[in-house]
Structures are given as C-alpha cells and as structure tokens.
Symmetry: C2
Subunit: 357 residues, 2 copies
C-alpha cells in the first residue's frame, strides 16, 4: 500500500550526544521521531520519520480534554560487541493494541509498527549508549487529535515514537527500596483502565506518591480498589514475593498492568523448573507470613528498573523489613539473567531479543 511507504526526512542539524554515565531519565531525545496519522476514512497512513521537534495541535484537541491516549515503554540495548538488541518488542505492540481497545482507539498494524521502529532505531543507532546499565528508552504513544469538545472517541489520532538515551536505573548498583503500602488512594479498580497503559493511570498516583515520599518511602504499593486488601502493583511496576520458598505474584485481574518483565520472569523461572503462583495476595496475609519469618524476598519488575528489590514495606504503622534490606539471591539472579540476555551477555535461550540490522 502506498500509504504505508515510510518517508524519512533526515535531520541535518544533529545534536551532541550526552555523557553516558549520568543521563537523567527521559529528558534527552534523539535527532528523529516517528509519526503516523489516523483518519476514519484512510485508517493509519503516512508513516514518517522526521526531525525531532515540537508538534502543533489545536487547543481543542481531544487529548487535552478527555485523555484518550495510550503508550508503551521499551528499550534498545547495546551489546559488548556493538550490536543493538530489542527485548520482546512484539509484546509491547500487542499490549499497545490491548490498551487501545480499552480506550476505543483504532489498532495499529503490529508488524508494521515493529518494522518501522527498527528503521527508526537503525537511523539513531549511535544514540544507543554503551556504558553498562544504560539503554535507549523507546516511547511509542497514540494521542487523539480531533478539535472537538464533545465527549466521545476521536476520529483522528497520531501514533508517535520518541527515543531517549537513559542512564542506569541504579547508578550505585542494584539497591533495595522502602515502599509505603497505600490504603487511602486507589490506582485502579475492576472495570476501570488499570490493565491499560493510559495517561490517566499515572498522574492519578502522584498525590499518594508525594505523601509516601514525605515519609521517606521511595514509592507506594497499591492495593485493590474494592477491599483495599489485595496487593496490585508497586509504583508503576508489577510485584513478586518469595514466601516460604514459593514465588508468588498478583494474578492479572483487569486492574493490574500485564507487565512484559513480569511475563518474562515467570517464563524464565519456569524454564529453570521453578513454578510461579499467580494469585490474590492479601496484605494482611503477607504480614502474617512476615511475622512468621517466611517473607524471603520482594521485588518490583518493569522495563525501567528490570528488577527493583524491596527492602521494606510500611503498612499501617507496621514495618516489614525484607531480607535485612539486602538484595535477595533470586532477585539478583533474575536481574543478572534478564539484563544479561538484553545486552547479549547471557545466551538468549528463550528467543526474546530482536537485533537491529
């Protein structure tokens, strides 16, 4: 189809690349970005790679008023021998379309999106940093653009991809964090948008996160919106526990994000012969297990950190100190294996990486 021909407009004024050891997350962007437009009659059309720069929207554009938008987060990694790898990118595009369905946004062609992403990263290959722990963060997103204040789905959209070189999530090495168990604010509820990666799910957590930070916590652990009892996510990561030898994680219930790192950890553990139980985990039962000395490890999982060990949970004035604030053996092994696969240091036996050629 002619409308699917990718047009590339090269940036002739290339930026200087930042020093690789101290790049703040998500504030530096590469020389190019990707845009594809949607109109009801034409479908998705006119994919383009253009110089990175401001976009112009009508002040009545629906994205500003009714939040019809979805996004993804993924990374490109540099191997020691200079190759560039993506990690399960097809899962991100699959989830983007799942999110879009929930938000009444028309699906994109997942294969085409991946093909065009590869071409974008190929063009920006020099932006993929080399220092250990660094990567090129990839942000695909869709915004609704009709200039119309009537509440309802837009008839026009922009699908865009921007790229940002990012430093190590743990510049001083993997570090367990202190987390507040949130019992006032709610992230998501059954029948809501919790399973979708959509903008409103994130800013709705700011107030709880600010309160938690004031009390010395790094982030919050969200409980379910109905009973305020069952564990859902930590910050914007999924969460796992090792309790009395068993690996458990909250089951996907419609209000929890279907994390790709979460999925990969389950598959990886299974490949090692270690089962993972996906189930409802009540905070009071976790506390009981903690008091019985059975909570051995806790860690968040997500694209940004991969594995973020939890050293302490604060719940209604009770402290649960996990593994003496130290990184658990399993947490470390999972972190090393997954980051190893992502950067080509560990053999990719599960066929997860996609090389940019």
């Amino acid at each position: 189809m002619t409308t699917y021909q990718l047009e590339v407009i090269e940036n002739t004024a290339k930026k200087d690349k930042p020093a690789q050891d101290q790049i703040p997350f998500g504030q530096t962007f590469t020389d190019h970005m990707y845009i594809m437009e949607y109109e009801t009659e034409k479908g998705w059309h006119e994919p383009k790679i253009v110089p990175y720069g401001p976009i112009s929207l009508d002040p009545a554009a629906m994205i500003f008023h009714y939040g019809q938008t979805v996004f993804e987060g993924m990374k490109a990694y540099r191997t020691e021998d200079g190759r560039v790898l993506l990690f399960r990118p097809e899962k991100n595009f699959e989830r983007l379309n799942l999110s879009s369905e929930r938000l009444s946004i028309p699906p994109i062609d997942e294969e085409l999106a991946l093909e065009h992403l590869k071409q974008l990263i190929k063009l920006e290959k020099d932006w993929v940093p080399k220092t250990p722990g660094t990567s090129l963060y990839i942000r695909p997103y869709i915004i609704s653009t009709d200039a119309n204040l009537a509440v309802g789905p837009s008839s026009t959209y922009k699908y865009m991809v921007i790229l940002s070189p990012v430093g190590s999530y743990f510049p001083g090495g993997l570090q367990p964090v202190v987390i507040h168990v949130e019992d006032k604010f709610t992230r998501a509820v059954k029948g809501g948008t919790g399973m979708a990666k959509t903008a409103g799910n994130y800013s709705s957590g700011y107030q709880a996160q600010a309160n938690a930070k004031k009390e010395g916590n790094a982030d919050v652990l969200w409980l379910d919106g109905v009973e305020k009892r069952y564990i859902e996510e930590v910050g914007s990561m999924n969460i796992f526990f090792k309790i009395d030898g068993e690996i458990v994680t909250p089951e996907l219930n419609g209000s929890i994000l279907k994390g790709i790192t979460r999925m990969s950890i389950i598959e990886l553990l299974n490949s090692w012969g270690i089962p993972v139980t996906e189930k409802r985990i009540a905070i009071d039962e976790l506390y009981e297990a903690y008091q019985a000395g059975k909570v051995e490890e806790a860690f968040g999982t997500g694209t940004a950190a991969v594995i973020s060990p939890v050293g302490e949970l604060n719940w209604q004035g009770q402290k649960m100190i996990i593994n003496n604030h130290e990184i658990g053996e399993l947490s470390q092994k999972l972190y090393d294996t997954i980051t190893g696969i992502q950067t080509g240091k560990v053999e990719d036996t599960l066929d997860w990486t996609v090389e940019i050629n």
Copy 2:
C-alpha cells in the same frame, strides 16, 4: 504584580460566525483564547489573550504521557435585552482548584481567573449566540508541559481558556433519554480521581458508552466501583430521582463529580421548601421502588444539558420506564427556572449570575 498584567493581542483576521440554530457542540471556536504559564520559580505568570490558534508542544510533554491535566465547563448566556451572564463561575474556579489538588497541579488565583475570563468574554461578546437554548461554552483547562518521561508532577503548566458557541442541547425541545445501567465497566472508585474533572475520567467511559449505544441507549448510568450496586452518575452528569415524593441524589462520596448544576438544584429546591436527600442509592432498591410504582421522575444534571430527563433505565435485562417516557413536572420546572435565571428571564433571587460589563 507585573507578571499578572493581562496582555491582549487582538486577532486581526476575525472568523465568520456560524448560523445560530444548528451549531454542533464544541467544534467552532471564537477568535481569541487565553493562556497563562506556570513555572516553579515564577508561579503562574504572563497571562495573555491571543488569537485562537494551534499550540506547539514538545512530543515528550507530560500531558501526552501521564495525563496530569484538569478542566472545567461553564457557559455564558445572552439575555433577551442583549446582556451576557455567567452562571456561578466562582464555583467552577473553586472546583478547578479542587481537581488540581487531586492531580498535584498548582492552584490558580480564582479571583484573577474570573477577572480574566470576564475580559476574554467581553472581547468575544459578539460570539455569545442569541437564539433560545444557545450559549457560549467556556472551557478552562490546565495541561502539564515538561518535556520529561519520568513519572511525576510537571514543573511547568499552561492554563488556557477556549470558547465555543453551542446550539441548544435539545434542538427539538427537552426530551427524555434511554439509559443503560452499566454493571461491567467502572467510571471511578473511592480513592481514585472520580471527584476531579480530569481527562482520564472521560475516555475511560467510551467503551461502555459505545456498547450502550449499540443497544439503543443514549448513555450509561455508572454504579460504584466497589459493590457495583450504588448509583453514581449518568454519562457525565449527576443524577436525581423523585421517589414516592422524595427528591434523592447520590451523596458526594469522593468518586462522584461535585456538579455545580447539582448543587444549584439542591439549593433551588431548598429555597422552594423542598428538601433533597443526599444518600447512597442502591440500584436494586431503586428497582424495588420502581416495581412498587414509586419512581416518579429521574433526571441527569450538568452544564451542557442543565436537566436531562431519563425516560427509561435498562438494568440487567429489566426495563424501568419512568413517567411513561414523559418529562416530569419537577424536571420541567427545574429546567425552566434554571435556564430562566441563566438567561435573565427569571429573577435571580439566589444571586447566581454574574454580568459581563
């Protein structure tokens, strides 16, 4: 303060105004718009009235990714003798700041915002339509503008106001609507953002609304997110019932929007000596009352429609036909009184209107 001096840049290329009898909602905008910027160091500053036109944002602007944004909706009305009235605008700015607090957005100066709104509308006075039922819709909103993909509050914002002449909500006269009682999808939950006017609350309803429309319903009635039993809102309006002579409406519980029309109806009824009970209303109890022949009227309330009579509720295969699909006496009286006050036809004994001079 010099930073609070309003700068006005007049539009020299004024648009033609649309025919007043058939203006679609929210698609036509006036010649000017209002913008004020926020930076952490400067606070809100540089308020400006400028020609209506596109705004330019970095593709990493936080509004596109994490949905930190709030808005308001209000109207300017034309009286028969040519004056222009606002309806309780101070309540909208008060609510805007309440919404902003929930979304971790810095508050605006409510008095200044009203003063500048008046100046904007004065400049656009000719855009306030004259035909009965028409008005000038006012959309104040705040968007987060940091170019930063790190999840967290923005340090820069834009507060904007755009204006749109709108036709009558009921071009054929007040008309009862058919509503689906939603028992799968959830709009909001305790601890969430339901009480805030923020973008994500609106697009999250599209899927339920589309399903309801396929089955011949105009919109959905939302139930609470916890038990899926207690009535919350209809579409993006509050809801009232007259049951066995008693006027009832769901109590403000944190997940229901604090509607200004809702508040006005309660105050108006009280001024007539009619009490309104704000309480939890269970859908099954409503159905029982319906079967006993006690549900006399039902109506949604909001800025767009003022009063939207509900003629039928569809709940789990059961139909509740209310007042024989006809407009209730109370619904009509409230509609006539409030629209009468708004347009200067009925004496404003409660001191609700603000004239633009």
